[in-house]
Amino acid sequence: MSDALLQVRNLRVYYGTPGKPVRAVDGVTLDIGESEVIGLVGESGCGKSTLGRGILGLLPAGARADGAVLYNGKNLVALPPRTVRRMRGPDLGLIFQEPMTRLNPLMRISDHFKETLEQHEPNLTDAEMRRRSLETLGRMGIPPTRFKQYPHEFSGGMRQRIMIALALVLRPKLLVADEPTTSLDVIVEGQILALLADLKNNFGTALLLITHNLGIVAESCDRMAVMYAGRIAEEGPVREVFANPAHPYTRELLRSTISLDTKVLHSIPGAPPNLIDPPAGCRFNPRCPSAMVVCNQLEPREQHPSPGQRVFCWLRGPSELIPPGGEAPLEREAIGVADEA
C-alpha cells in the first residue's frame, strides 16, 4: 500500500452555494500505483470529475478541499497553490473532455508546446524543446509537418491527441483523463483509448481514466473504482469486479449495459441523490434493490470480499456491527416516474 504513487485519503470537496454546500466528493480513499491504469466510473454528477480535478488542485471558485492527497510524501491539499501549480506538467497531468475548445485558437501548436516547456524547464534550448515536442507528437500520430498549424485546422480526434501530447511532453507520473473520448466518435475513440492504454509502456505514466462508459474500462484498465454520490462504492481489479460485482450498484450498472444479448432494457429506478442533503447511511439505499434497514441508518464499512477488492456495503457485513432488526428489508415508497431525472 505504501508504495502507491498517489494516495488519496478521505478527500472531501465541497462547492459553496448561498445555502449549504454541495458535497460533491464526500470522503474518498483511493490508491494509484505507478504505471497503473485505473478506471473511475459512475453516473453523471457522482463526483468523478471533481475528484479528478481535486487531485490536481484545479477546483473552480467557491470549491474547497479537505483531506489528503499524498504524493511523494507531501499532501497536495495542504500545499500552497503555487507549489501545486509547478507540479502540474512534470508530475501531474489532466486532459479534458472537450478537445475542440481546449487549445488557444490564436496560438499555433508549436507555441503551445513552447509555452509549456518554457514554463517548467526554462533551461532547454529551442532546438531541444522542438525535438521533444515533435517526438511526443509523433508518438501520438501527429506528423511534424503540422507542427506550426493552428488548432482550428485539426479535427476533434487530432486535437485530443495534441492535448495528450501536451500533457505528456513533460513526462508526468500520473495523468488524469476526464472523459477524454465522450465527445468523439467511436472509431476515433478506439484510437485514443489505445494510445492511453499504452501509456505505461511508452511513458511509464499512471492513468486515472474517468468515464461513464463501462466498456472502455473493461478494455483498457487494470483496476476500476465505482463512484456513487461522492463516495466510492466498490473498487478492485477489473476482471474481478466485472465477474463478481460486490456492490448492488455495480451489479445494476452492469445489468444496464447493452449488448447483443439484451432483450429487455434495464435501468435503475430513481435519480442520483441531492448532494446538498444526501440520504442517511448508504447513499444508494433509496434505489437499492437489496436495501436493508441498517442501510438507512449507518454508513457502511469497508469490506474485502476478495484480495485487492474493496466494497462499502452492509450486505458484506460486518454483521457484528449491524444492530438488531437491521437486516430486515427496507420499506420505501415506490419511486414515482416524476422522481427520475
Partner: protein, 332 residues
C-alpha cells in the same frame, strides 16, 4: 355573482404568475453586491427625473421662458442665490426651472421617438426576419448601410430637412430625427433574433401543425423576441437623450420657446464660459450626465442579469465538519 369583499386565495394561474415573477427577478436578487447597487442606483436616479418631468408644473419655481416675476425682472446672468438656486441665464431665465422643465421635454421627446422607432423597427424586423426573401435582402442592405452611419449625422440631416419643410422645428422634428436614427438598430436586433428563433424546434412544430404565419409570429416568435427589447430600449433611451441634447446643442432640436432643453442651454453657455460664468452650462450638463447615467445603470443592470455569461453566483462560506473516525480496518 356576489362581490368578493374578502381577498380571494390565489388561483393556480395566479400562483404560477407569482412564481414566474420570482424566477424572473431571481438573477437581480441573486446578483453580487456591485451589480445590484448599480442597478438600484440607476432606478432611483431615473425615477427622480421621471418625477421631475411629470410634476414639473408643481416643482419648478418658474416657467422655462419666464424672465420676470410680476414686475420684478430677473437678473441677467445672475449668480446662484437664494431666489435662483442655480442662477439665471443671459435671457434672465431661471436655470433651475429650465432644468426641471427640461426633464419633461427630454423624456417626452425620447419616449415618443423610441415608441415610433419600436413601432416601425420591430414589425419590420419581425416580418423581414421571418419571411426572408427579396424584401429581407433589400431591407437588410439599406438598414446595414444606415446602421454604420453615425446617429448624430443621420439625425442632424433629418432635422435639418424637416425644419426647412412645412413641419418646421420643434418636438416632432426632433422626435422624427431620433426615430429615423434608431430604426435600423431595432430592425437589426429583432431580425437577428427572429432568425435564430425561427429555426427552433417549437416553431417548426407549430408550422408542421399548419399554423398560419401570422399566428406563429404572434404566439411564438414575438414574445420570445420582445424579451430582448427592454435592456436595449433602456440603453437606447440613454443614447437618445444624448442625441437629443446634441441636436439641441447644434441648434436643431427643441427651440427655447417650446421647452427647456439641456443641450440648447449648454450651447448658449459656451460663450458665457469665456467670462468665467459657469452655472449656465454646468447645471444643464450635469443634468444630462445624471439622467443618462441613471438610464445606463438600469440598462446595464438588466443586461447583466439577462445575459447569463456575466451573471456571477455568490458562493457561501462553509466549514468541513470533522469526520467521525470509523475505518480502522484497511488503514495502514
Amino acid at each position: 355573482m356576489a362581490t368578493a369583499s374578502r381577498p380571494q386565495p390565489l388561483t393556480p394561474h395566479g400562483r404560477a404568475r407569482l412564481i414566474a415573477l420570482g424566477r424572473a427577478t431571481k438573477p437581480i436578487r441573486e446578483a453580487g453586491g456591485v451589480a445590484r447597487a448599480m442597478f438600484w442606483t440607476g432606478i432611483v436616479i431615473t425615477l427622480f427625473f421621471i418625477a421631475l418631468a411629470v410634476f414639473a408644473r408643481f416643482i419648478a419655481p418658474y416657467g422655462f421662458t419666464q424672465y420676470k416675476s410680476g414686475h420684478h425682472l430677473f437678473p441677467v446672468l445672475g449668480h446662484p442665490s437664494g431666489t435662483h438656486w442655480m442662477g439665471t441665464t443671459v435671457e434672465s431665465d431661471d436655470v433651475m426651472s429650465r432644468i426641471i422643465w427640461g426633464a419633461q421635454t427630454e423624456l417626452k421627446v425620447v419616449v415618443i421617438a423610441l415608441a415610433m422607432a419600436l413601432a416601425v423597427g420591430v414589425p419590420l424586423g419581425l416580418v423581414s426576419g421571418y419571411f426572408g426573401g427579396i424584401l429581407d435582402r433589400v431591407l437588410v442592405l439599406i438598414m446595414d448601410a444606415l446602421f454604420a452611419f453615425p446617429y448624430l449625422l443621420i439625425a442632424i440631416v433629418i432635422a435639418f430637412l424637416l425644419s426647412n419643410s412645412s413641419i418646421g422645428g420643434g418636438v416632432l422634428t426632433a422626435a422624427i430625427a431620433i426615430t429615423v436614427a434608431y430604426v435600423p438598430l431595432y430592425f437589426r436586433v429583432v431580425r437577428n433574433h427572429v432568425i435564430s428563433v425561427r429555426e427552433e424546434p417549437y416553431v417548426d412544430a407549430a408550422r408542421a401543425l399548419g399554423a398560419r404565419p401570422r399566428t406563429v409570429i404572434r404566439k411564438y416568435v414575438f414574445f420570445n423576441v420582445v424579451q430582448n427589447v427592454p435592456p436595449i430600449a433602456t440603453l437606447n433611451a440613454a443614447d437618445a437623450i444624448l442625441l437629443l441634447a446634441s441636436l439641441g446643442f447644434l441648434g436643431y432640436g427643441i427651440q427655447p420657446t417650446q421647452g427647456g432643453e439641456w443641450g440648447y442651454d449648454v450651447s448658449r453657455a459656451v460663450s458665457d464660459a469665456a467670462s468665467g460664468i459657469w452655472w449656465t452650462g454646468l447645471f444643464p450638463g450635469l443634468a444630462i450626465v445624471l439622467l443618462v447615467t441613471g438610464l445606463t445603470l438600469v440598462g446595464e443592470g438588466l443586461n447583466e442579469t439577462i445575459n447569463p455569461v456575466l451573471r456571477r453566483r455568490r458562493f457561501g462560506r462553509f466549514e468541513f465538519e470533522p469526520v467521525p473516525s470509523q475505518m480502522e480496518e484497511g488503514e495502514e
